[in-house]
Symmetry: C2
């Protein structure tokens, strides 16, 4: 169930002292021999991106799409930390590279935690040696790495997709700015498939669009969001499309775990838009509904208030005809052609009482479809995010 | 303090039975003689706009920018009600027009309340005769009208701006989808100034952009939002620019009252962006910060977490340089050139404890400035919006 299941990888997680107590706060995923393999990444598009994002992007460009390892700290985002922040991220990479015996530009770096506070380098540096020394290729160490990247996550998030021909393993934390006190959605994936950096990038981009980029908790975009994949090539070249498919399954699994563990989320809802004029319109409409604070409040209350769904669809910027829209909860149509439809209220009520809610909106205009995951907005979310201390 | 203070207008508010108990739920603002005067309006851009929005828009077009009165019901939005909804809105206008002795197209109509429920026409029709019969030009009746448009508002919202040469009066309810169970932001303004429909439209659009359109509670756009102005001409033609100025003051006053009465809002914050590359960029950036669920949570907690402000600025779609941004709370700079700035924490803490919070972000890139009003996100907001019953 982890990043070490595909052949050719090791991992570890240790406590270096960024977090209080003895919580694990420093993680490593690396190739078993410490040498670079093809790699790809998708980073936040936030212009206020954190130092580790800037450094990882530069390293991946310098190495021509190769990496030997990823070092990740939790408890501090190293964001809004200026030139010192970049130099701290560089220094972290240099120390890991020295230990692995590769180039500094072969190391990628991620951070997750509070924004605007200098990275406590003394603590971090003290953890590098034990982190490297203890790295191993068995599940226990994969789980340690997954634990060390947690912030307000309540559960470790790992995934494994095996097709017989190739294996994709992964770990992740958070969901978008879900747990923004300790910001960031991070995911590290590994595969034993043989693939070029370009093939990896293409497959990763497609997988992310349909999964992590279709998950909304609060619509906020973190300074640190990063998804990375390394490919060891130990299993040889997969059939065309197989890697992209496995990657999408792995990312979807991690995204669902994130939604399920979203802060204060009492409900997880799938928002499916069909019948849009185009796929883009469908995405716009589904995203608008998924992001709506009001829809999220209704989900929290288990209230099938379809008027809000229609209102959000109408203001999504997608083509919309108020007389053609239909809305269903759990497959029961409650609005047809823009007006209330007679339905079995008991059936809808029962569906709304569950933890997983299905909302389908048909725009009646074309063939475009899109699906987003979202969560309920609860007082616990506010409580978690009202302060940093 | 009301829509009847400018000469030439009457108003009334009655209980017709849409709301429970004896709460006022039907309002009228009309010219004293029941004859049309120049009028203008700004409507929601939501494509799922309610029947009254469709009908009012059509009436204003048919009359060439004239209106004799506005009839408004609360307790039901007449939205997502299809052809029946439009016919009900038309019928309401026809009855009012008959009573006033004007054309049906001289009457504008607004509704506010739950979406997707047929308008209870029997109740509404029963209220028209007493509504018209009791209309008067004194403050008590202006206040009745203002009360009859309330939904979850806790206070009547009225304004009066007099310049000596002209008077603008107004009443409003809600704030955007602030009180979305009983949706809608509505405002009706009157003036005794002489102005053409075109001049009114131009002045109203400018006033709305800088006030109601710069107020964010939850970023949701109602199906029913409407702002209307009628000009009696009793005070003659004002000097150039005077009407626009008075209208902006009146709208700003109403917008501030809305923010102050926003549901569950424990804090009201002014988000000012300066130094943007352009005015458009400044608006984009200020809106993004104002809409942020996370920033609103920080406001609720009174927590000066500037990292979230920077993160939202970076993802606003405006030009942004992470090394040039500064952020201040209550005039105290807490972030300079993108990193934490030493400051008097006690002074910031004292500012954050107040009800009104000032956030200023300077992007350091140009001369563009913009200001938005926003509110804290509190558990009370969720509680208010989790269900419709």
């Amino acid at each position: 169930m982890s990043v070490v299941r595909p052949k050719g990888f090791v991992a570890n997680g240790v406590h270096c002292g960024i977090k209080a107590g003895d919580a694990l706060d420093l993680a490593l995923v690396a190739t078993a021999d410490g040498q670079p393999v093809p790699a790809a990444a998708v980073f936040t598009s936030n212009k206020a991106c954190a130092a580790p994002v800037q450094v990882s992007r530069a390293h991946l460009a310098a190495s021509g799409g190769y990496a030997a390892g990823v070092v990740i700290n939790s408890g501090n985002a190293n964001a809004a930390t200026g030139a010192d922040g970049r130099s701290n991220a560089e220094h972290t990479c240099a120390l890991v590279a020295e230990g692995l015996g590769c180039l500094e530009t072969d190391i990628l770096v991620c951070s997750t935690g509070l924004i605007g506070i200098p990275l406590p380098m003394e603590a971090l540096v003290s953890g590098i040696e034990p982190l490297l020394r203890g790295r191993k290729g068995n599940e226990v160490f994969g789980a340690k790495a997954a634990e060390a990247i947690m912030t307000t996550d309540t559960r470790v998030k790992e995934t494994l997709v095996g097709t017989g021909l190739l294996t994709v393993g992964g770990m992740a934390k958070g969901a978008a700015m879900l747990a923004p006190n300790l910001a960031t959605m991070l995911a590290v994936l590994t595969t034993d498939a043989t693939a070029s950096a370009g093939e990896l990038q293409e497959a990763l981009r497609a997988a992310v669009d349909g999964t992590f980029n279709s998950l909304v908790v609060d619509g906020c975009q973190s300074t640190n969001d990063t998804v990375i994949i390394l490919a060891s090539g130990k299993a040889g070249a997969p059939p065309k499309g197989a890697l992209a498919e496995a990657l999408t399954l792995a990312c979807a699994d991690l995204a669902e775990q994130m939604a399920d563990d979203a802060e204060g989320a009492t409900k997880v809802a799938t928002i499916k838009v069909t019948g849009a004029r185009s796929a883009d319109d469908a995405r716009r409409a589904a995203r608008r509904v998924a992001e709506s604070q009001l829809v999220q409040c209704s989900l929290y209350g288990g209230d099938p208030y379809w008027g809000r769904i229609v209102s959000e669809l109408g203001s999504a910027g997608a083509d919309f005809d108020p007389d053609r829209v239909s809305v269903a909860y759990g497959g029961v149509v409650v609005c047809r052609d823009g007006v209330a439809a007679p339905h079995k209220e008991e059936k809808v009520r029962a569906h709304m009482e569950g933890r997983m809610i299905d909302v389908t909106a048909d725009l009646g205009l074309g063939e475009g479809t899109a699906t987003f995951l979202t969560t309920s907005l609860s007082p616990a979310y506010i409580d978690e995010n009202k302060g940093t201390s």
